[in-house]
Symmetry: C2
């Protein structure tokens, strides 16, 4: 497949990818839906009339929206037709866009001139805890090697409801939060700036398909029709605040201070060449969680830390999405098993994705092993947790001999705490 749009072979966004996002620009202050191709954005608002396939001909309006929810709310067949149409329109053999200079002029803009936005109204955001190495590491640190995994962990894709409002797009800075902590067990709690600020290397999955009714289940076997696509996600975490607040109802203010996502939603279809075997589950799961097909992906994940003292990034971890013990289908089945209704645009977080070696862990908590093993940055600085002024950059890509499908980046800078004046 070859596009008339020229791009480098190392681009994240070849014609085989075509991720969706929402952008504005100096010329277009209203949010438009676009598709990334090379270094450009193809503005779907401008070319919505070209979606003339049997399913989308009377649904062109979804490409004129200021968010992806309506498009996500269609079916897998619609998404597939949209992809085919876009691949055809961008193909080097297709004159429609290529030779219409006026239309091309309106329809393309450089990504460097665009401001990206959260791509959908996220009605509900759920965060899971599905990487076995992460759960094991945390269990060892806070309990013991023998009891690292909780008894429910291999039976349930454990998850919890997160905060939708504080999900922000890559590039949005995050302030170090104030909060309560318990520095000394049994002593009085302390109020002040978080001292153990962390990132979490996650991926987010956007749910698609029509909204379900309250009481309706979506089993793992049915869930495939409802997986629209994926983004990178940094679930910023205030570890010391979390530790004091989370019993018995789970993380709350330690997580709602901001969750960063990458702007381009890479579709499940684009990722299909990178399907790999599901993680072996050595405990048989209940039927609602069973599916026979592969739904694990070989996605390389990397995290760079950029200190304010040096513009050169240090790659602090290399992990992979394939370390997920639970598939996204299983997560969605768990989400809905008691009848919880879902809506297009809902976001499922994977949980921290840690690999099986100490250089592939997905958080500073694990990489520095609770601060006992500081990381060394390329300029000699050390890090146990994230410091003020640090920028954390998540990257993700799939690669085989034919093609590279990338996610772009999910970046966020940690700003100093805003002093509390009560």
């Amino acid at each position: 497949m070859k596009s008339f749009v020229e791009y480098s072979s190392s681009t994240d966004f070849p014609i085989e990818n075509l991720p969706y996002g929402v952008f504005t620009s100096a010329k277009n202050v209203d949010k438009h839906i676009g598709v990334a191709i090379g270094d450009l954005i193809l503005d779907l608002n401008v070319i919505s009339h070209l979606f003339t396939g049997p399913l989308l001909a009377d649904k062109q309006q979804v490409f004129k929206e200021d968010k992806l929810n309506a498009f996500m709310g269609l079916t897998k067949a619609h998404w597939s037709e949209a992809r085919s149409t876009l691949q055809s329109l961008l193909d080097v053999s297709n004159p429609t866009l290529q030779t219409d200079a006026a239309l091309r002029q309106k329809a393309f803009l450089p990504q460097s001139e665009a401001t990206m936005h959260v791509p959908a109204d996220i009605g509900d955001y759920t965060d899971f805890y599905s990487s076995i190495h992460h759960a094991t590491n945390v269990g060892i640190m806070f309990r013991s090697k023998e009891n690292a995994l909780m008894p429910n962990w291999k039976h349930i894709p454990v998850g919890y409801h997160g905060r939708s409002s504080s999900i922000v797009v890559s590039g949005t800075p995050i302030h170090r939060p104030y909060g309560q902590t318990l520095p000394v067990e049994g002593a009085a709690p302390h109020f002040g700036p978080c001292r153990l600020m962390d990132f979490e290397l996650e991926m987010g999955c956007f749910v698609g398909g029509a909204a379900t009714e309250l009481g309706q289940r979506v089993t793992a076997k049915e869930a495939g029709d409802r997986i629209f696509g994926f983004v990178l996600m940094n679930d910023w975490s205030a570890r010391d605040i979390q530790k004091w607040e989370y019993v018995p109802l789970g993380p709350f203010t330690a997580k709602n201070l901001g969750t960063s996502i990458s702007p381009w939603v890479v579709t499940a279809e684009a990722l299909s060449p990178f399907l790999v075997d599901n993680y072996p589950q050595d405990v048989e799961v209940f039927p609602y969680l069973r599916h026979d097909d592969k739904f694990n992906f070989d996605i390389n994940l990397e995290v760079d830390l950029v200190s304010e003292k040096s513009s050169v990034p240090t790659t602090i971890t290399r992990s992979n999405f394939r370390f997920m013990y639970w598939t996204v289908k299983q997560q969605l089945a768990q989400q809905t098993i008691t009848g919880c209704n879902i809506r297009p645009g809902d976001l499922l977080g994977s949980g921290t994705i840690s690999g099986d070696t100490s250089d592939s862990y997905g958080s500073m908590l694990e990489l520095s092993w609770k601060g006992t093993k500081p990381l060394r940055l390329h300029n000699g600085e050390e890090r146990k947790f994230i410091q003020d002024g640090d920028t954390v950059v998540l990257r993700g890509f799939c690669k085989n001999e034919q093609v590279r499908i990338g996610f772009g980046k999910c970046e966020g800078k940690l700003l100093p705490a805003v002093p509390f004046e009560g």
Copy 2:
């Protein structure tokens, strides 16, 4: 104060109340905002042009919306002007509505002819755990009398993020869910219908005011401007599912099966005659949680259980909102202390509101003390938890010698589980 609308002295909705809701009717299939007065609804869409006060004259559009978010997003001063305008328009001495037969005909309809809806788009829903008697009871049951309250409980208004999509309006039936449980400690988990289905007597608070920015805190002292109003709430809970799933990230599918709220939002201003002293807090809290003014309310709360075998309800508990240890201002301050942004229409659940006597507990778990003390219904039936076909009705009202301010009811019927066919 006397209205030209006639109503009984026992109405929940006198001219001193004027709660807001969203309704449709056979005549109006589009959602309109209305105000309850006696047995009627005043349709604000029809009379939006009568909001001619200095603040609302150019904001009349908020009354033409299909939800309350835009109105909630104004300020306390706007809400107060709206209330004054409505009280004036409904006053027996005011001819505007009273003598305009055509307008009256369009503007009023009986509540019995209306279908009520969830009154706002709830961007995020947070549930707290703020009743000391409830937290103590649960602590005694699952730990011990000595360690009933967790160490953080008197320092933090403990809360967690809940599910927005599954918040439904009073009258919506709820299906008994399927889910995983662990009937025997240490044995294999079980999958099947929930066996310990419970209600939770709560109140919900709708947040108002302009949306805040990520990173912005709202202290308890500042929170008063952001409390729009209150509803009754039944936080249906699958106790056996909750027990197995909630470690370590908190309740998830045990709660997202449905949360019922009453349709009429009673404003904080209407409740102001019923302000009472805050619950005495015997541990000094951090400055962000401090406020000197009263923000506790004397709201009588009752729960009726109606068995399918008898249409006569049994009142199974009588509690009061004043048992809340933490105020709603403190809850909102906690929600935002790490910089979490809030939006008008956000909902804060109080947590189960249990009184200090065994007949004032807010859940079957407590009323039947984990099933050890069955309740007896008026027809001789017994209940440890909620049975299929049971209808749970929450009612709430404030009352003094001058006036009664009521919440209407929050009702839901538990339907049998839909068999799982995996």
